[in-house]
């Protein structure tokens, strides 16, 4: 058994608003082992990004009320002071954001922003920081690293910027890298390059990766295990092979149906899931997916299903369809 690096237990999060408290996360639990890649999948608004921000401690404590525990190695992140959290951020846990185009400060050179990471977390001299920064840029495959150091973000392409962001995130060799839709804003060829780069870096540095995405193609490419989220809950948890070969939850099945199949002879229309994620606070009882589920029964309106083991490996699903039914595989 590999060492557990990150353990989130029954994480609940409520946003305080004028209209009362909105439940953004309703008891999320998962583990991330050393060197493992776990993907967090789901539609917009299902709580993926909020989970990552909660782990980083980047949610305003005044507006977000948090319960449960987030353990990183043997540190309880949710009990740290802001100062202690700051020392972990960027050094032990780093994050890559969705929008490389806007994630770099337009008024500073690439070099200055990359050096800042070392300035925050190491005692290196200016010269050493510069050398480290150039080395890091080369490592993420940025050509003309020395020149790029003096350039401004607007002079780089989106793919280059994302490489720089990855360089910044990986600068201090973090144990955990959280990537929030790292390739969503990039075009397909660049996407493939960035994914490959992330995989390489991960292998070399034994970094664990929490990958947040709505792109199942990326999941298949990168992940070891997958957590499917819906309405602030994990509705299905499985290793990547099981998830793609026999998805269980109607939501997961629906998501997989939305992927176009290029080999298909007939031009079939895609089969989207009707409707959208309910607004926060809208569902007070029963299964949150029942409104969009073709197999919803009476019970789904009354009782909320727990996360149930399905008998196939570690796969678990939050759906009444699988109660007491060990699915034949």
């Amino acid at each position: 058994m590999k060492e557990v690096l990150l353990e989130v237990k029954d994480l609940r999060l409520q946003f305080k608003t004028d209209k009362g408290e909105l439940p953004a996360l309703q008891g999320i639990s998962f583990q991330l082992k050393k060197g493992e890649t776990v993907a967090l999948v789901g539609e917009s608004g299902c709580g993926k990004s909020v989970t990552s921000l909660a782990i980083m401690g980047l949610l305003s404590r005044a507006n977000a009320q948090m319960e449960g525990s987030i353990r990183f190695r043997d540190i309880l992140l949710n009990q740290l002071s802001t100062g202690e959290l700051r020392n972990i951020r960027g050094k032990d846990i780093a994050m890559i954001f969705q929008e490389p185009m806007t994630s770099l400060n337009p008024v500073h050179t690439i070099g200055r922003q990359l050096e800042e990471v070392y300035q925050l977390h190491t005692d290196l001299s200016k010269k050493e920081r510069q050398a480290k920064a150039i080395e890091m840029l080369k490592k993420v495959g940025v050509p003309r690293a020395e020149d790029i150091m003096r350039e401004y973000p607007h002079q780089l392409s989106g793919g280059m910027k994302q490489r720089v962001m990855i360089a910044m995130a990986m600068a201090c060799n973090p144990d955990l890298l959280i990537a929030d839709e790292p390739t969503t804003a990039l075009d397909v060829t660049i996407q493939a390059q960035i994914l490959e780069l992330m995989n390489d870096l991960k292998e070399n540095d034994h970094t664990s990766l929490l990958l947040i995405t709505h792109d199942l193609g990326v999941v298949a490419e990168m992940a070891d295990r997958v957590l499917v989220m819906y309405y602030g809950e994990i509705v299905e948890e499985a290793d990547v092979v099981s998830l793609f070969s026999h998805p269980k939850h109607p939501y997961t099945i629906g998501l997989l149906r939305c992927i176009p199949d290029l080999d298909e002879e007939e031009k079939l229309r895609l089969d989207p899931i009707e409707g959208s994620v309910p607004l926060l606070g809208e569902v007070t009882q029963g299964c949150a997916f029942r409104f969009r589920c073709s197999q919803a029964e009476e019970r789904c309106y009354q009782e909320k299903p727990p996360l149930m083991a399905t008998g196939t490996g570690t796969q678990a699903v939050r759906c009444w369809l699988y109660e007491n039914k060990e699915m034949a595989v």
Partner: protein, 284 residues
């Protein structure tokens, strides 16, 4: 097009756009003339400032007295040159002080939600009073004089800084790169100083330029009302005031100091407008 060998920096591009703007350059020329005139006043003034000559009282502009003389026979041109030092220096001090205070308050109000309400309500109170009236009220408390006039002007212009800076900070603080550096483990004050402040420099520079003119105008107005610089100090506002009594016999006593005020303020406004266009070429 982008030339990757010689990238155009932010400031370089700004300077180029500014130089192409004719009205802004006219403002620059006006300001250079006035600044040089003030700096070199002791050298180029044709007559000593305080030298009275009762034989040539109230004499019209001529070759010996380019802009005429006042009721004590003092050379108006020389006094204007020296007065420029007072006005420009006052403008500079008030702008520096109000920028420091206003930007600090504005950044705090924009970044910290809790301080926001407190600071902005204070600013709303200040802004609900006409600036000049507010300045007069401050002087009523502190007493007339040049220093107090400056303090009064500073207090009167601070709210406009706070407002501009706060709204700029509000838009910057939600940017992804701020969240990205927070994820790197940076301290709040470092975010404000290194990442927020550089991004709001352009509105601050534009505002300061325009406020420079406004401050000079306000200081002159206070002096005209007898609340700022006191005669015989060759302050422009005070000179307009003294000349007012002789308007029918010696128009030049008021007109020329008035023109000087107008031109300097115009210079700052032209430059300020030009800077705004140069900093943000999209909003023309």
């Amino acid at each position: 097009m982008l030339n990757s060998n010689r990238p155009e920096s932010y400031w370089g591009g700004m300077g180029k756009r500014l130089r192409r703007n004719k009205t802004a350059m006219a403002g620059v020329v006006i300001l250079i003339v006035f600044t040089l005139g003030s700096l070199l006043a002791p050298v180029i003034a044709p007559h000593p400032v305080e030298q009275m000559n009762f034989n040539s009282r109230l004499s019209a502009p001529s070759l010996t007295h380019l802009l005429g003389t006042d009721d004590f026979g003092r050379d108006i041109f020389s006094r204007l040159l020296h007065g420029g030092r007072i006005s420009l220096l006052m403008g500079l001090i008030t702008v520096v002080l109000s920028t420091l205070v206003g930007v600090t308050l504005g950044i705090i109000a924009g970044y910290y939600r809790r301080a926001d309400l407190f600071i902005m309500q204070g600013m709303d109170i200040l802004m609900s009073l006409p600036a000049l009236l507010l300045a007069i009220a401050v002087i009523a408390v502190l007493g007339p004089g040049l220093t107090n006039a400056m303090i009064a002007v500073v207090i009167a212009v601070i709210p406009s800084y706070v407002r501009v800076v706060r709204s700029a900070v509000l838009s910057i603080r939600e940017k992804e790169y701020i969240e990205a550096v927070r994820a790197l483990g940076i301290r709040d004050w470092q975010i404000l100083l290194k990442h927020v402040l550089p991004n709001i420099l352009s509105p601050i520079i534009v505002l300061s330029t325009i406020q420079f003119g406004v401050s000079i105008l306000a200081a002159a107005a206070l002096s005209f009302l007898g609340l700022g610089a006191q005669p015989p100090m060759p302050e422009w506002g005070a000179m307009v005031f003294v000349g007012k009594a002789f308007l029918s016999q010696a128009w030049w006593m008021s007109i020329f100091p008035g023109l000087a005020i107008m031109l300097v303020v115009l210079g700052f406004n032209l430059l300020g407008d030009g800077l705004r266009d140069a900093f943000d070429p999209k909003t023309r």
